[in-house]
């Protein structure tokens, strides 16, 4: 009677759950480490657009007048700007084996560069692309600053300026969270601490960091 229907339903549920769980078993750990600059031909491409942004403020007292303040344990004089550059989005999530393409548009800040900690992935020599992601022919190498009106006359390798968009491409080989850092606006301590002030106490408008999380 109906018992058979129930039995069939129960059997299919059991089957579905078992097969699902079996499929969910984590894949064997890969031996290759980190991120590699070349993608396998079959790797699925994940593309992300990132803008460089900025938070800033000049702390004021209740009367609306600039006041001296404290930033992360450092005394700052009145009228000094508290600022920090950001990546937006600052969290990129991909799966292991993906070919990751990051297009980074420099909006705030006269120039930035980019390196992913522990890897050789960075903006040195990265291609500069236009609005349709086509290479303009320019590369983020040591060169004359096209925005010399606001920044230094010469750019170092890896630096790209306001209005430029660079593209990075790498394959994610190992699961984990990688820190993507703009070194112009970050000072890294001996143990990897990301600091907003350099070793001379000068603010570097940072740390400017984003995280690339590779799911296993």
């Amino acid at each position: 009677m109906l018992r058979k229907t129930f039995f069939l339903a129960f059997a299919s549920v059991t089957l579905a759950v078992t097969s699902g769980v079996a499929a969910a078993q984590p894949a064997a750990k890969a031996k290759t480490a980190g991120l590699s600059p070349t993608c396998a031909a079959k790797a699925p491409v994940r593309e992300f657009l990132i803008a460089t942004g900025e938070w800033d403020t000049v702390p004021k007292n209740k009367e609306g007048k600039p006041a001296a303040y404290n930033d992360r344990g450092r005394a700052r004089a009145a009228n000094s700007k508290l600022e920090r550059y950001t990546f937006d989005p600052s969290m990129i999530i991909v799966k292991k084996g993906d070919c990751v393409v990051l297009h980074i548009h420099s909006v705030k800040g006269d120039r930035h560069n980019l390196t992913i900690e522990g890897t050789e992935i960075g903006s040195e020599g990265a291609a500069i692309i236009d609005d349709s992601f086509k290479p303009t022919g320019a590369k983020a190498v040591a060169r004359a600053n096209p925005n010399a009106y606001e920044g230094p006359e010469k750019l170092k390798s890896g630096e790209f300026v306001r209005g430029e968009q660079v593209t990075l491409r790498f394959q994610a080989n190992q699961a984990g969270t990688y820190r993507m850092i703009c070194e112009v606006h970050t000072f890294i301590g001996a143990k990897g601490e990301l600091k907003g002030y350099d070793d001379k106490g000068k603010p570097v408008q940072g740390p400017m960091v984003a995280y690339v999380t590779v799911l296993p």
């Binding site: 579905a16 480490a33 560069n113």
Partner: protein
């Protein structure tokens, strides 16, 4: 399929019993389809649970972060990495050869190092100069060496990729960018004089990744 099977069987059983009431048949069919929908829902839920188990992207309880989430995978990888296969790369000018070497090799077997011989200078006599690169310094950063062919053995002990640039009388050479945990070699022929060594990447130089290389035939120990 399973629903049809159930229905046929139920109908057959009813016919065998001599039940002819269409209302009763319809009621039983309704119950059977309800059961089918329910079981389908349960199957879907099972599948969804399996999906969630596969991708625990959002840790649901504090303190139960998946092992891969909070670590420093790249750094660990770099530190424990098996020696990279030796690959020859091209130098940027004549007289410069770059080759990746095995990080495990105690490269300095031939180099005779004399620390604090004179001032803060470190002297290398074997024609091989070992330098560790990290943020943001070179260790050692004051070096004395004899003129002639000099091999720089450069270890990246930092967290970022680095490079090595040497500039002085008649020479301007650099290696290829290399990632943490790797060691590369740079061979240059140097004549007497003062050279500047630095990391040309980003702002590493101005943050302190530079040093002085004095090439002289009069080393303190000789």
């Amino acid at each position: 399929m399973q629903r049809d099977g159930g229905r046929t069987e139920v109908a057959r059983a009813l016919v065998a019993r001599g039940a002819q009431d269409p209302a009763q048949l319809r009621r039983i069919a309704a119950v059977a389809s309800a059961v089918a929908v329910l079981s389908l829902t349960v199957v879907l839920m099972g599948w969804m649970l399996a999906q969630v188990a596969e991708h625990p992207g959002v840790p649901r309880e504090l303190g139960e972060l998946p092992h891969w989430f909070a670590g420093e995978p790249a750094m660990r990888g770099a530190r424990e990495r098996v020696p990279a296969p030796a690959t020859a790369e091209h130098g940027h000018q004549a007289g410069v050869a770059i080759a990746a070497i095995k990080p495990g090799t105690p490269a300095a077997r031939t180099a005779e190092k004399t620390d604090a011989a004179e001032g803060d200078y470190t002297e290398f006599r074997g024609g091989q100069v070992e330098i560790a690169l990290k943020e943001y310094e070179m260790v050692p950063n004051k070096i004395r060496v004899k003129p002639g062919a000099v091999t720089f053995v450069l270890r990246n002990e930092g967290r970022f990729a680095h490079n090595f640039h040497v500039e002085g009388p008649g020479v301007e050479a650099h290696a290829e960018k290399f990632s943490p945990g790797r060691t590369v070699r740079l061979e240059v022929t140097l004549q007497e004089g003062d050279y500047k060594i630095s990391c040309p990447l980003s702002n590493h130089d101005q943050r302190g990744m530079h040093g002085t290389l004095v090439v002289t035939s009069k080393l303190a120990g000789t």
